[in-house]
């Protein structure tokens, strides 16, 4: 399935301390209806050419809900108009801070089949907040009101929690807070990614991230039926203990020919980060089809990276099948090129070897599958 990440706006009502979009000098505004319509023309064209294929449209930003319910109703209308025969192979996801979510989004969400939304929350004051003054109190009140509306309408929601330096003082409090807030689970603990010198006060090293996970992992492991679907723990259990293969885009090594990021002006790239950094530009959807974009020759470098790493830096690593060298963009941020393993390798390995395996009493055995499917 192809994932099309639609950065429909770079505007955001929140002013999260660790976010790159807020601090970006050249914010690209919002996606015009003309570009939006082109998205559905291209979607239909792509799906018609591949009758077995599906597309997931990921509504992203900035804050996508700033565009309002009418905009998303227009999304539905464009889909009806341009994907009459292929619309059943289009699914929608959304990543939102929820603070401008209201009841009047519900009908459109239901029409688009959005049964769950992805969001983020931080209990630590002044990490997330509205406006220039980063108003956490207002942010939290609006977020909690939105969660209430979602639950009343049987729309699920999942949380990303960004682990920062401030999290390190209270890992257990953070864990209990989030698992109390979201009792049915669906929580992902990700490390903060800071690329500038100004905000190093919240940056965490891979070792610190491991330390954070190590504090909360025993709580989760001993009561995992109480706290379902907590990442990265659930995935590691899936892959290491249950023998399944379910890896996210960062670890799967297979994002190469499946992802398109579309900026508000219709320009495409591999993902949000590559777009922000001006890398891997695949042209504009006005000029190129999704098929052409997905087979752009620049992607070969990403495909070659997996093979290269398997033969060089990652050669002989027993955890290779769990990370495939990690995200190429992490390599870029550290080395200025894609052909290295992620610096978060230390975190993955550190957590598995120091905490996961000893606490669960398991030992990971590779299956001998060198390259991702």
């Amino acid at each position: 399935m192809a994932s099309v990440i639609l950065k429909v706006t770079e505007r955001c009502n929140s002013n999260c301390y660790y976010c790159d979009v807020v601090n970006k000098q050249d914010q690209g505004g919002s996606m015009s209806l003309e570009v939006l319509e082109q998205v559905f023309i291209r979607t239909n064209e792509y799906l018609q050419s591949l009758p077995e294929e599906r597309i997931n449209l990921v509504w992203h930003g900035g804050e996508p809900l700033l565009l309002g319910p009418k905009y998303f109703n227009q999304v539905w209308e464009f889909q009806q108009e341009h994907c009459a025969a292929t619309g059943n192979r289009v699914s929608h996801s959304i990543q939102t801070n929820l603070t401008c979510f209201r009841e009047d989004f519900i009908p459109t969400f239901q029409k688009l089949g959005i049964g769950a939304v992805g969001t983020s929350y931080d209990p630590e004051p002044h990490m997330r907040g509205l406006g220039r003054e980063r108003n956490t109190i207002l942010y939290n009140a609006q977020f909690l009101r939105a969660a209430e509306i979602l639950e009343k309408n049987n729309i699920g929601w999942g949380l990303i929690y960004v682990v920062t330096k401030r999290s390190l003082a209270r890992p257990r409090d953070v864990f209990y807070f989030l698992t109390n807030l979201k009792l049915t689970g669906g929580i992902n603990f990700n490390p903060v990614l800071i690329y500038d010198k100004e905000r190093q006060d919240v940056a965490v090293s891979p070792e610190e991230y491991v330390q954070f996970l190590g504090e909360i992992f025993p709580l989760w492991w001993h009561h995992r039926s109480r706290y379902p679907d907590i990442e990265p723990f659930r995935s590691l259990v899936d892959n290491i203990i249950d023998g399944n293969t379910s890896l996210g885009c960062v670890d799967s090594g297979s994002c190469t020919f499946q992802h398109i990021n579309i900026a508000p002006d219709g320009n495409t790239s591999q993902c949000g980060r590559s777009s922000d950094w001006g890398l891997l530009s695949y042209g504009n959807i006005r000029d190129r089809s999704f098929g052409e974009i997905l087979s752009d020759s620049q992607r070969e470098e990403l495909a070659a990276r997996v093979i290269h790493l398997a033969e060089t830096e990652c050669d002989g690593c027993r955890l290779w099948e769990l990370c495939h060298g990690g995200c190429p963009l992490d390599s870029w941020s550290k080395h200025g090129e894609f052909q290295h393993k992620t610096e978060w390798c230390i975190a993955k390995r550190g957590f598995i070897e120091k905490y996961f395996e000893p606490i669960t009493g398991t030992s990971y055995k590779p299956r001998g599958v060198l390259l991702p499917c």
């Binding site: 909690l144 409090d173 109390n180 009792l183």
Partner: protein, 287 residues
Amino acid sequence: MRRHIVVCPGDAPYLERLKGFTCVFTVGSVLEADRVITDAKQIGINVHAVAIHSRIPLGIIELHEEWGRTPIALFVPAMGMFKDMVRQLGRLRTLNIRVYLAVDREENLKALRILASLGIPCAAEFGEGRIDWDAMTDLATHALLGLSPHGTIEPFEEMARQYRQTGRTEFRGVYFEDPTRFVHADEHGKLAFSSKDLGARYCFSEELSNLDTLTELPAYQQHLNAWRSVFKDFNTCSICAGWRICGGYVQNRVDDNPGCKAFAEEVMGLVERRAELRRNVEGVWQV
């Protein structure tokens, strides 16, 4: 639509208006209990329970045979002398009584154990004073995992019945304070969700006539969702491991409560352990 159960004074001047409702009557003496049971029958009110708040210890309070199977929530300050209480056992067992004792008095923790061991259903009321949380945890352990047959000790039994690992636990019905089932009315017909709220004049409606449209009131919806407000703050109950079973109830009831977190977490573990034991009933290995 299911109507709320109205918790109101047994001598409220508006009882006639509650015809057709189900009520919990709060009274201060056993004589008042007798009277309100009779009145309710005449008016056509279904009696969910009569809550008697007495200052007389259990051992010497009068228990009336006429109450029959009417549920009686008997709030007493203490068990009293054991020899006196033993004389009450016959009626405590035949009548439909649950004995509530405030656990901010140390002797009541022991009394609850004694009563339960005699087969009397009872309940720990959190009271307003300091609580020995270790002793409360011991009581919970006895209530939930004690091997000898005993009467139920609330709220632990209700917690065990209502607990789901991935949800909030609603056990306040034990105290007639589950807002989805009970509404409290004062003598003037003002409505609130608990006697404590009524006492603090924190009423969500001034009008008894709102009983039939309760669930449509914005204040009602706000109250049902008030539990979320704890997550505006990175402290207090939001970071408590036992929040999913306690829901902040203890924190809201007891002012001076160091130790309630450990208690709530422990009770949650006990509830899970009991469920696990009941799932895994294995045969005796010899046979």
